[in-house]
Symmetry: C2
Amino acid sequence: MAGGEDKKETKKAGAEAKKAGGGAKKANANGGGGGKKKEVKKETGLGLSNKKDENFGEWYSEVVVNGEMIEYYDISGCYILRPWTMSIWEIMQEFFDVEIKKMKIKNCYFPLFVSPGVLQREKDHIEGFAPEVAWVTKSGESDLEVPIAIRPTSETVMYPYYSKWIRGHRDLPLKLNQWCNVVRWEFSNPTPFIRSREFLWQEGHTAFATKAEADEEVLQILELYRRIYEEYLAIPVIKGKKSELEKFAGGLYTTSVEAFVPNTGRGIQGATSHCLGQNFAKMFEINFENDKGEKAMVWQNSWAYSTRTIGVMVMVHGDDKGLVLPPKVASVQVIVVPVPYKDADTQGIFDACTTTVNTLNDAGIRAEADFRDNYSPGWKYSHWEMKGVPLRIEIGPKDLANSQVRVVRRDNSAKIDIPMANLAEQVKDLLVTVQQNLYDVAKQKRDACVQIVRTWDEFIDALGQRKLILAPWCDEEEVEKDVKARTKGEMGACKTLCSPFDQPKLPEGALCFASGKPATKWTYWGRSY
Amino acid sequence: MAGGEDKKETKKAGAEAKKAGGGAKKANANGGGGGKKKEVKKETGLGLSNKKDENFGEWYSEVVVNGEMIEYYDISGCYILRPWTMSIWEIMQEFFDVEIKKMKIKNCYFPLFVSPGVLQREKDHIEGFAPEVAWVTKSGESDLEVPIAIRPTSETVMYPYYSKWIRGHRDLPLKLNQWCNVVRWEFSNPTPFIRSREFLWQEGHTAFATKAEADEEVLQILELYRRIYEEYLAIPVIKGKKSELEKFAGGLYTTSVEAFVPNTGRGIQGATSHCLGQNFAKMFEINFENDKGEKAMVWQNSWAYSTRTIGVMVMVHGDDKGLVLPPKVASVQVIVVPVPYKDADTQGIFDACTTTVNTLNDAGIRAEADFRDNYSPGWKYSHWEMKGVPLRIEIGPKDLANSQVRVVRRDNSAKIDIPMANLAEQVKDLLVTVQQNLYDVAKQKRDACVQIVRTWDEFIDALGQRKLILAPWCDEEEVEKDVKARTKGEMGACKTLCSPFDQPKLPEGALCFASGKPATKWTYWGRSY
């Protein structure tokens, strides 16, 4: 029956693969149906059949599977997050959770289910989500009295209780966060991490007495998101404000960190920090008695980052050998591979590997040795390159003789011999160097894609070249709609990514590239995920 | 509209309260509807309207709400886990996650959704869960091609992929765990933590080459569950094996830690560690080539503990003043309350409180001060007693003069004066003492309820006295069914809780209390949650 299972899965994943770019089918074949069981493991180590520059979509689908981060699931748009993924998620979670607790934000857990009445209370909000909401209508054999929705996000789940808990100014600020799963039943191009029907995230929901406090927190959280991308995932991001058209449904304004994928020339929203203003407070009657004894409405924020972060990391750093993990998020930072020869002192080599791992572990470095006897050193090299381990240490007879180890960097294949004497310090430094280099290279590539345009022709030209476009804009919703309409095509329409907080000076009398009206700000435009 | 929301909620919670014991309605009134907003906070501090010994059900529903652990939700059987609850969950999670990682068990995340075909593959298993499964049949306005189930547990979600990933003996053992939410749409007596339609848990799923390895892990995990209850929650539990009737649907055998609630005379299954044998392996074709090159089937385990643990803690330790939290799981272990008088050196007292908190925090003790100026010290005492904080430190003029603090224990109200000089050490010791005392008292109460019976009459008598019954049993399924049938009543039938691993010697020729046949083992019997 599992055979049938496999077939069904291959079919589904295959269908999905077409959208995702065909990679899934291969990936799945790699996963192996009855026939090719024995090859599976081998194949994992034998590189990718797609190249990042030639066929990005297939390359991506293949690398997340062969890197053992993702397994395609028999329900389209749902994916299995394997340990190699979860360890990355947990490292980011540990950082973020500590930081928000410093800000006196507390964790809670609200239910997965929402009743229709509450879900639909905020009209703009529900309009934004309604088409993607999954509904539970049955339990066992019996129909439910009322269908119940699965949270696509938890504003409407939480705010009736904020209204109950918040009475006076002393109950403010109320600052809660939850780590949970949410469901958005999208039908367009499911893609592992980037666009999935269920994903993991944190969602923060805070309420303040004044707008000033809310505004301040929006930026504090956005800075934490920048640090996740730049300090942990080694990905440069642009902090900015979303346009009215792109802001969170029902909110006052949305800020975001925006990443860019040079290979596809697409922007990707990395994480968002919203100021909801008093709109939800009005709908859910979240009022309080202020210090003057007057009735007032709270100011609210909500903010979130999801497992999408991991997909962006794969897209930006991965190469034709597989994943490339930044040391700070790699569960294995150093893989130690023994390289014995027939007549060599094999035991001595194995012992040296063990000693090396212990030395590194004692120094707080996440290192492991691969002693498997059914794989050649060469196979192990490609296997751990596929999984993106930042540093490989090879120990052979020569190294043993010179009491040194051979270190190979995943990011640039550089080889360095390190004396065992000061192994820990040098490896630590190398990990820092690799982390920094990944960021620098990613930034160079990203910056090389930035194109400043002033006219519609320049804009179309840059769009054709898959650039990250920075243009003077009149900031009118109608104009953005018009640009989207005029750029619609099989590659998808171009829209605003954000207006960067870091604004270049706008020249005297600058005009909007699209409308010719006076420009009010520089804004990034591009196709996006 | 929020008013309407409140009403709807009160109604639902009220309905639920009848089952849960009526407490919810009061609790909810406490939560406050439009009218009594100002009183709310006060009420929280003003004790409980139900007594644990007089009306346990109402007391429980009231204490979880007034202790700010739970908020009733507008969907019956779903509850909001507030920060006071989540911090306890996170502390247990931290312990358990580290321990299983030492055992080389890795975290992963599988989808929330299951397709019907897979869910129904293992017949006994699905029979056990089918009535409780929630089904998604719509997304947005459109019906799904096939209804999709929400996981009640993840055996059927995961094992098709175990079949894919496991090829040879080198792929074993495969040891995965996930922290997630599951849904069991039960209609009988929803009760916060104890019986809810969605709950949080960890579920471990492991596969081994040999039964011996599986058997060993079952007990290693069970020991971790014992430590969670006894070392963290200060609750004595009995380790044992479930009867054939009570074991996990589709498994080979189930072990559990069983707790007991003296007030209701009910046993409660604390956590379970199952050996699944090869049954699922057969259904899902999880085969591997063993080291002799022969095709073999894996041996599997699955094991889980859930947020139910927290409900057991409330039931066992709580009293008429509210929650009683064991120090090891309390997010606030010490609350410091300034006790100023008109003519006293208020600033000096506040400074002393701040110094005290800092001293304790530096010593790794979780301490906070309550400086709120709109509540009296007396109100604060009851408020923090309601929330179950293990130690209260009062600092007034006299304490300041004698450079000492007054410490009050939550578990037994004992008052101790401690010189500020060696505050940290003494408070640390006190916390250990309180933790131990909670366990000792709970054990005395539990042991006092154990009743050994040898005949049916003794059994019925003991059951009437709400005892935890230990009886010689013939271990026949028909006999257990018969006992359940004969004890059915409004209080619910009596069943086996477990056969303890720690078996008293069975007397020569001992007979089963129920069937009169030769007894093969001692088994615990009782009504249960």
